[in-house]
């Protein structure tokens, strides 16, 4: 932390898979601070319904973590499905998020789960993962002074179901979570793609049981929220809305059929 305060513009390095790519794209930092040997940032815990994942946890470690497998197994499965074996051993959670690249999948996966990024040593302490794409967000205003991302937390206490669909990648991926709250059940879906920023979609239903959700109806409601700018050269907005509706419906059918968490 002292190093980051002394060098506020330092580039923080973890697995470095993406950082090397940024170097090739022209990044020329004056100071590089490597976190590789800070073991505390590799810890994973699940206490009182809060899953806490250290920012240096690699994709492979995350996908095999007993804490994640027991609390949100579909998160482990989704995590283990991204990238390739080489990247999964090397790439870290923090690097995947803070690279802020549209095509990276952990922001899509974790945004639907309502995950929060925990920072230390900067001006802010907590930011939702979904804020990575907010144009005028606190994130953009404080960029360069956010300190170090130490962990990501996920509230698992109210989580009823989570799933991730990447079969139509790169055009559209969908991460979907169902939570119970005082208003009923909230379905949060995040639509990602190779070419456009992830979009957060949400629907709250007056229901007490996940089996009461109508997958086709909720899928349509969610997909209709995609803004026109979600379209791209690989798929018009009409096509993407249709595709996202199908993927949401598929996930919800699984959710309502199994009624199990994860």
């Amino acid at each position: 932390m002292a190093l980051t305060r002394h060098h506020p513009k330092a580039v923080i390095a973890a697995g470095c898979s993406d950082l090397v790519a940024q170097f090739r794209e022209g990044l020329e930092p004056e100071v590089l601070i490597s976190l590789q040997r800070i073991k505390e940032l590799r810890e994973i815990s699940n206490e009182a319904g809060i899953l806490r994942i250290g920012s240096l946890v690699s994709h492979t470690e995350g996908s095999r973590s007993p804490e994640i497998l027991s609390s949100v197994p579909a998160l482990a499965a989704a995590w283990g499905s991204i990238a390739t074996v080489r990247i999964r051993y090397r790439g870290t959670l923090g690097g995947n998020l803070l690279a802020r690249r549209y095509r990276y999948e952990m922001p899509v996966i974790l945004s639907a789960l309502g995950a929060q990024m925990q920072f230390e040593g900067g001006d802010i302490a907590v930011l939702p993962v979904s804020s990575l794409w907010d144009r005028d967000s606190l994130w953009d205003r404080t960029l360069g002074n956010v300190g170090i991302l130490t962990a990501v937390t996920v509230d698992t206490a109210s989580l009823l179901w989570f799933g991730y669909e990447r079969s139509m990648r790169p055009l559209s991926t969908v991460s979907l979570a169902v939570r119970k709250n005082t208003a009923g059940l909230t379905v949060s879906a995040v639509c990602g793609s190779e070419y456009r920023q992830p979009f957060v979609l949400s629907h709250t239903a007056e229901a007490t049981d996940i089996a009461e959700l109508d997958p086709a109806f909720v899928g349509e409601v969610l997909a209709a929220q995609l803004p026109d700018e979600a379209g791209d050269y690989a798929g018009s907005i009409d096509y993407r809305r249709h595709l996202v509706g199908v993927l949401c419906r598929r996930l919800l059918a699984e959710a309502t059929g199994t009624q199990r968490k994860g």
């Binding site: 470095c16 090397v20 790519a21 090739r24 074996v85 080489r86």
Partner: protein
């Protein structure tokens, strides 16, 4: 852009990196921005580590670092301090006897132009260390991270299966001796 060669007049920070390469100690002074690919090819003379996409996508530069497959093009050299690094040059025995993986790729024709082969061999080595008897799905998962421009991958998949057989037989022979 070469990560290894800064523009003239630009200050370059360097690191001394000590590591084990194919069983032998190595020590080199490298710029902070040098990659493992730069180090292995230019300083250590290991040309079997291919330079291709340099974006950790194609797999041609795959080496093992502490038994795990790593994209040498996208790993900083300073990060292998104290590590055990293996390249394709370290697979064959000192008398030239091919490893099980090399023998299998030769038997099954798991190569055409050969450009991807060193990366495929290192992936196979890493896979078999973790899982001596992988099934097709597991092999496909690993091999899919290495792009072959020539084949339909079928012969490569067969090569990995054959490598598992040969390695297993070799272990049994050693155990019975």
């Amino acid at each position: 852009m070469s990560l290894e060669s800064p523009e003239s007049g630009q200050e370059t920070f360097t690191h001394n990196v000590e590591f084990e390469l194919n069983g032998s100690p190595e020590r080199h002074c490298v710029p902070t921005s040098a990659t493992v690919l730069d180090l292995l090819r230019n300083s250590c003379g290991k040309q079997g580590v291919r330079a291709s996409c340099e974006r950790s996508v194609c797999g041609a530069c795959t080496v093992l670092v502490d038994d795990l497959p790593v994209a040498a093009c996208s790993t900083f050299a300073f990060d292998i301090e104290g590590a055990r690094v293996e390249t394709v040059e370290g697979l064959a025995a000192q008398d030239g006897t091919l490893s099980a993986q090399q023998q299998a790729f030769s038997e099954c024709g798991g190569f055409q132009c050969g450009f991807c082969t060193s990366g495929m061999l290192m992936l196979t080595t890493g896979l078999l260390r973790q899982n001596p008897q992988p099934n097709r799905e597991e092999i496909r998962d690993w091999i899919s991270s290495n792009t072959c421009r020539c084949t339909g991958y079928e012969m490569i998949l067969e090569s990995v299966e054959r490598a598992a057989e040969l390695a297993g037989a070799k272990q049994q022979d050693q155990a019975s001796e």
